[in-house]
Structure formats: structure tokens, C-alpha cells
Amino acid sequence: MAVISARSTAKSTGRRRVRRPGRLVAEIITVVVAGIVAFPLYWMVLSAFKPAGEIQTANPKPWTLAPSLDSFQRVLTVSGFGRFFVNSLVVALAVVVLSLLLSFLSAVALTRFRFRGRTVLLVMILVAQMVPVEALTIPLFFLMRQIGAVAPAFGLNELGSLVLVHLAFSLPFAIWMLRGFVAAVPVELEEAAKLDGASRMRFTWQILFPLVAPGLVAVSVLAFIHAWNDFLFAKTFIISKTENQTLPQAILVFFKPEETDWGAVMASSTLMTIPVLVFFVLVQRRLVSGMSGAVKG
């Protein structure tokens, strides 16, 4: 975050409004809002560290004097939690890498090339984003079964099937977003590269690809979250192979009305949130510019 803020301070808000009386009020409001937004997360982490007696109590306190790792221990000793974690990570990373490559290529084709049917494709990509994917569970289920007969690694019960569906669902939005970003790269650059004798392929990968990096970051964030969050497809596709389940199922183990182990639920939620947070922090400097890139088209 520091980068965004440092840069933007220097750039715009600047000294111009230093004397504005309203600004202090605005800043106080900002900090309060930030506190409210962050509170559920704080509560999640706090509850994960609270000792057993302090969680299920009618007088919850917003701090703990005796942090304990008991809840994490309960979570991690559940058979397969580590395995589920790795499964989720493998699926999400595979989706990110593949969707970056595929959506980049498509975005280039849709913005830099003139050909018939371009508009049709664009509309279809927009339409594709509106399909309620939950409704597609039924046909996808049967499709995966058929695919499994040919390529077992992508059939039901396998992580490959999850990679495929999430890839398919991330692509339309990824293409949609990258499109604006690719369009923002001046055409003159391509002409110049061509004059220098660079092939189109080389231009695309060696010049264009790095230039749209912020857009790629935004896309990868969303693809990661999408795949990481999935609950329904993992639940439906992984029928009987326990070892191929993903994280959400691990949390469900602890959530049972009337006897919910809230400490464990919060600890597993914390563990599940960390990778996404790490991913965000790694890419955050590019995120804001990535978002704005999406619009310049």
C-alpha cells in the first residue's frame, strides 16, 4: 500500500489543500471507516487465538490476555487439512497462470486485430460473465464425467476438473479487463517494433506482455480469489476422493449448528484468508493502476 500512497501524495493532493479545515474531519472519518471495515478480520484472528473458554461466552471481550494456539492445533490435526490447503493452492495457482496466458492472447487479438466477428465475440464475452455458473453445475458435471473418460486427470473427483471450470469462468472477465489495458498501449509502439524487424509474436510477448503487467496483476488477483473461494464445484465434483478435497470442506467439518466449534472455524478461516492476503500484498502496487487500465479502452 505504501507505494500507492507515497506516489499519489507526491502527484496530486499535495500541498494544495493543506489548510483545508475539512480535511482533518475527512481523515478522521477515513480512519474510523478503516477500523470498521477491518474489524471483522480482527475479530476472526482474535477469536482464532482466544483460549477455549473465551470464545463461546456470553461476554466476549475484544482482546485476549492469554493467546493460545489450541484452535489452530485442532484445525491442523484434522486429517488432511494440510492436504486440502495444498489442493486449493494448486488449483488457484494453475488457474491464475493459465488464465493470464489465455486471456492475454485473446485480449491482444480482440484489440489489436481487425477481423469480422470481433463485436460478436465481445458481446459473447460480456454475456458469458452473466451466466450464473451455479446453474451450469448440472451440465458441467456430465461434461466432466465425459472428459474423465478420455483424460482421467481432468475428470470428476480430480483437481483437474476444478482447474478447468474455474479457468473457464475466470476467462471472460479476464479478457474483458485486459482488453482495455492492451488498447492503452500506443499503436505507434507496434509500428516501431515492426520497423525494427520484430515479429508480431515477439512484439506480443517481449514488449506488450510486460507493458500490460498491471492489468495482468488485476486479472490474476480476481482469478485467484475466484478459484480459491470456490465452494460449490469442489463440493459437487469431488465425489468420493477425500484426498482431493479443497479448503472450504475442511471448514465445514467444524461448523455444525448447535455444536459449532467457533474457535476452529475462525482458525481455519484465518488460515484460508492468509494466502489471498499474501497474494494481494505481493501485487498491490500494481493493482490500482491495473484497475484504471481496464477502463482506458
Binding site: 460478436v120 458481446v123 458435471f141 456430465f142 461434461l143 473418460a149 470428476l156 484426498e243 455444525k256
Partner: protein
Amino acid sequence: MRVRRTFTAISVSAALALLAGCAPTQSAPAASGGDDQTGTLRVWLFDEASRAPKEAAVKEAITEFKAAHAGVDVDVQWVPVEGRADKFSGAFNDPANAPDVAEFGNTDVASYAQTGALSDLTGDISSWSEGKDLLPSVLDTAKSGGKTYGLPWYTGIRALYYRTDVFTELGLKPPATLAELTDDARKIHAAKPDLYGISTGGKYTYALLPFVWANGGDVAKQDGGKWTSTVESAQAKAGITAYANLLKDDICPPAACANLTGTQSVTAFAGGKAGMTIGGDFNRKAVEQGAVKGKYAVVPLPGTTPGSVAPAFAGGNLLGVFGASKRHGLAVQFAELLAGAKYQEKMYNAMGNLPTLESVQKKLAASDPTLKPFVDTLAAGTKFVPSTPGWSKIDSQNVLPTAVQQIATGGKDVDGALADATAAMNKNFG
């Protein structure tokens, strides 16, 4: 303009594709499996209120099984009873990835048989040394269309659990009629607001049914092979209303109870949160290990007149073998091990449920007085849900629980809720 043209193009091509009209995909009829002697045997068992004892007994069986079969591993997945429908749907739709052995309730036999995914075990049972010991009436519940689809594992009979300490303190006696039960529950909640008078959730169909039957009603009747709903009959209405009245602020506040399932209702009682509950023989050990240990007793659920017993639901769980199992022989052997006398007894010790083998049941009933209320209930006569595939759908669509919830929360009046239920039931009966 361009956009509109595009949309037209898309819709036209979609329409054309439809006209070309090939049918949607179906699974190939369940492929016959194999008879491998090694590998991982995948087993689905139901999750229970406080699963640990059941899990321990099953683990013991697995250890024994693995010792007898080199190169075999057994992977158990615990399926929540309420979420079983989508889980089993998945297995039926993709037999290749279905488990090898699965526990399922006898109410689902007709509908599961219809999918053709389960093996007919008639031959296996007749060649099984302990097969002749199975109680014939219990074995009947595993049959559909003359074929047997599961090994009866245990019988589930529900009775009334109540808190002896609370009843003594408030000077109450175990209720002799359902009306008395309601009064007692109200008194308990009034005297101890922290306790539900009786914890019977809105999604607890098998606690609801005895109320309907005790009032002389039923949920459906069969005429010449066709089932029709009878929940709007005066008797059934009386029973459902009586049950819904338990889910009121003065007994079991709907905010907490309307969404409780059977397992959760029992868990609440075991956790010391209720004065009474309707629980099964298979819940006894869970309650025994809960906060109410030593402070509860069990009696048959009373009927409408003093001295009568409300007909209980003749529940029971079976162990089925999937037809597509690549390890059919192993699967049958594992099911037979679990359903055999040794592990029926261990399961009884773990959970307290009634065995399905006559010799084991007799031996245990003679030695263990805690079984008495359940055996008495059994002896007083039990009833069963409509044995038709439609019932599974009615069950998984929560038709009756929805009606109860609507009545309890005032979302609809009794007549309106039951009219909806009748329509939904008749649609599913076909």
C-alpha cells in the same frame, strides 16, 4: 445497432442448435464393476450426533479388515444425513467415481433402487453365514421390486428422552399423552427459560411423523399403486398442528428451533439445553457422553390416550454396495463385516442402536435394561413412510419441514401450508 444484430445472431443460432435437437447427456447405465482384490475401498457412512464412538467402532473394523486383506486400504467419508441427497446424486450420476460401500436410510431404498446404481445383494445375503439371522421384517425394508439393495446394519427406533433432574425439581411425571407432553414442555420452559421445553426441530421429520400417526392420520395413502397425500385430513392436520405448537416461543422458540434437524435436536438435549427430546436408540451413547449424563431417562413416546404409545417410525440404516464398484467382492465382505454379529454388538456398545440380527438383539435386550423403551416402542407397532421413489424427493425437498416451519413461524396458516404440501407431495408421487 451492431449490438442488436449480434444478439439476434446469437439467439438465432441458439434456436437452430435446439432445432437440431439432440437429447441432453445421460450417464451410461451403471457399468458393471470389477472384482479387484487390492486398492482403496471407499466407504460413505452417516455422520451422527457426536460421531466419535461410531468412528472408533468402524476404525476397529477397518483394522481387522486390513489385517485380513493385504494391500487394501479403507477410506471413510462421513456424510451428513441432511446433505445426503446431493452427495448421493453425484454418486448416481457418475458411477465410476461412486464409493464402493455406502450407508443409507431405508426410506431411500425405493428411490435409490430406481437409479440402478446399487448392487442386488440377494445372492450375497443368502450365501452369507449370518444372513439367516437377519430379522425378516427388517430385511423387508431393504427390498424394492423383489431385490435386496442393502445389508440391514441397525434399526432406528425413536423414543422420548427427558431430564430426570428437571422433572423431579418441577414435580413433573413423564407425560402419559402427547397433550401432557406439550403442557410439561411449556412448564419447563416457563420455569427455566434457558431450557427448550422440548427440542424438536422444524426439520425433524421423524419426530413429526409419530404425532401424525398417533392422531390417527398418515402422510399419504396408496390406491391401486398410486400414492396421494393425506396431510390435509383432519387427523394428520391435528398431529402436524400439535407438533408445530411445540415450536413456539413458550416451548422451543422458533428463532432457535425452526431450523433444527433431528441430529441437532438431540445434540441440544445432550448439551443440556432442553428438558426433553425425541431421540433414537442410536443417539443414546451421544447423550450419555453429553452434559446430561446420569440426569436423563427414556420412555416410549406417548400416544393421544393414556397408556398408548405413539407409533414410531421404523427407521433403519443399510449398507449398500455400488454396482460400479471395482472391488465388489471386497465391498461385500466389508459390509458383511460391519453388519455381522461382532460389529453389530460393538456398534451397539458405541451408539446404543438396535441390532438387526435376531440373536444379537435378543441377547442385548435381555442384558441391557436401557433398551427396554425402544423394544417396547417396537413391540407397540411401528409405521413406515410411503415406500416409493417419490418419498425421497418429498424428503429432500423438505416438503413437510417447510409446512411445519410455516405454521410455527406464522408464515402461513395451517390450511395454506398443508395445501402447498399436498400439492408438492402429489407432484412428486407422480
